[in-house]
Point group: C2
Chain length 301, copies 2
């Protein structure tokens, strides 16, 4: 990571990494166009899903597929499904009864743009449609069930992580750093790990390849959340496109609050190193995944 120390490098990487984004967004748009539904529900889902997302998880699906020798375009369905699950979680997390956020991805959150009832239902629909999309578009059945096993488990772990985070039942026998790691493993890492594994499975990964991609996915998943915690402390709302400094306001357990800012930065480096090492076996084929890891370590929003 030492070579990537400034915003310019980060932006350059980001542009390069954005390759599959157009295909992913086109696939999402087509799926939503074709699925019969109430017009106002479609509008709400499009507003959330087709806004300014980083598309990190679907890009990971495509790039992990390619890293193990598969054709990225064949993973577009699962890539779209995981972005829908991610988007469902954002819409519900932003609700007044949850984090009560007005701003997301630089625009009004869905319940502000429409209303709470629609945000609840559109979130529900995105979750349900993610499963429908895979069932309807992946063959053979054994591959579909493998992907659905990954996606359903990760989705439920993510929801459990949200419960740990939003409605904690503090067990004082467990050290704060261990509680924090458990929250992060569920809340953020589960779905990022799942994206990597689903991509590798779409690409026909061997057991060894899948294990290496899983190690990479777990490391960048945890790293993503440590960086998120750091950004919440160090960046403004305008820079982030969502509310900043809210973890402290809500008294949430975060890496900076438990370890301090400098130790948190070292944790980012450690996890980044783990991720890079796991990719060695793939050689050049994993260059885009390595670049994604680099970008995620230094991203600024």
């Amino acid at each position: 990571m030492s070579a990537i120390t400034d915003q310019l490098a980060s932006d350059a990487h980001l542009a390069e990494l954005k390759g599959p984004v157009a295909s992913i967004e086109a696939y999402m748009g087509r799926f939503l166009d074709q699925r019969p539904m109430a017009a106002n529900l479609r509008e709400a889902i499009c507003y959330s899903l087709l806004g300014q997302g980083k598309r990190l998880r679907p890009i990971l699906v495509i790039r992990a597929c390619e890293a193990v020798g598969g054709i990225g375009d064949k993973a577009l369905g699962p890539a779209t499904a995981i972005e829908m699950v991610h988007c469902f979680s954002l819409v519900h997390d932003d609700l007044p009864a949850m984090d009560d956020d007005d701003l997301r991805r630089g625009q009004a959150t869905l319940h502000v743009h429409t209303n709470e009832a629609m945000a609840i239902l559109a979130g529900d629909a995105m979750l349900g449609l993610a499963f429908e999309l895979i069932v309807a578009n992946v063959e053979p059945a054994s591959k579909a069930t493998g992907l659905l096993r990954e996606l359903s488990t990760a989705t439920n772990d993510m929801i459990i992580g949200q419960v740990y985070d939003t409605l904690p039942q503090v067990d004082d026998r467990i050290e704060p750093i261990d509680r924090l790691r458990a929250v992060h493993r569920h809340k953020t890492s589960a779905l990022i790990r799942c994206a990597c594994r689903m991509g590798a499975m779409c690409g026909g990964a061997s057991d060894d390849q899948l294990a290496a991609i899983t190690t990479y996915g777990e490391a960048i998943g945890l790293m993503f959340q440590v960086v998120d915690d750091l950004l919440d402390v160090t960046r403004s709302t305008e820079q982030l496109g969502k509310a900043s400094h809210k973890d402290a306001k809500q008294g949430k357990l975060t890496y900076p609050s438990v370890l301090g800012i400098e130790s948190s930065r070292r944790e980012v480096q450690r996890l980044h190193g783990q991720a890079v090492e796991a990719l060695q076996v793939f050689g050049e084929a994993a260059r885009p995944l390595a670049d994604l890891g680099d970008y995620m370590a230094v991203r600024t929003r």
Copy 2:
């Protein structure tokens, strides 16, 4: 239906129909015990799922499986999954931003018993766990994907029906009765039809058998909602175990409001006749399904 005209007959049928309920509830309890999750989330899910439900949908799964010659116990996983989806929809529909109900199945609704954040997350989790349960417990993969196709499509149609019902965009070119049928087909009938089809698929139904069970499922699904609309007008909150007279208060389109009470009762008879007729081909094996149809036509809560 003419033979079944009073509460006594209804109660007698109900007791007889309750056969598989103990197995279903035991299966649900075991699944929730085994799935690692936050203790407060588990408590919330158990509160909603293991309360006093009628278990109509899971019983339909079991009985439809048996009607086509299958072993009912082999459909317990899918039966539990569909009850979880149903329960997810109740928990979210009861939220303050939706129907704002305090009472459900004779007890406080989940957001009143815990809080809104937990009700949102527990609903999300029940939806996600329904899919996880089928993926983890049904083999071979081709059977699992068949069931998941039914469940995901019906779930999404149900959510779309809830949007039509809660956030209607009225198109005056469509007659009220046609709008009403569209709402009911999505909101209620989709999941009841799905329960019947999933059961038949678990039982290894032929195409003809599946078609007959589908006709039955669609008829009783629509009938269920007409009866629900009638009960809302004719019964008290205490009798229903949930708020009554709320459709009129919320200005919702219902069968009694569009057709009047007597015509709605005739619609119940018409749909009940359709359902009974569709079961003829199964002979005695479909007796429990026919009894369920009889019960649903005369139920009083």
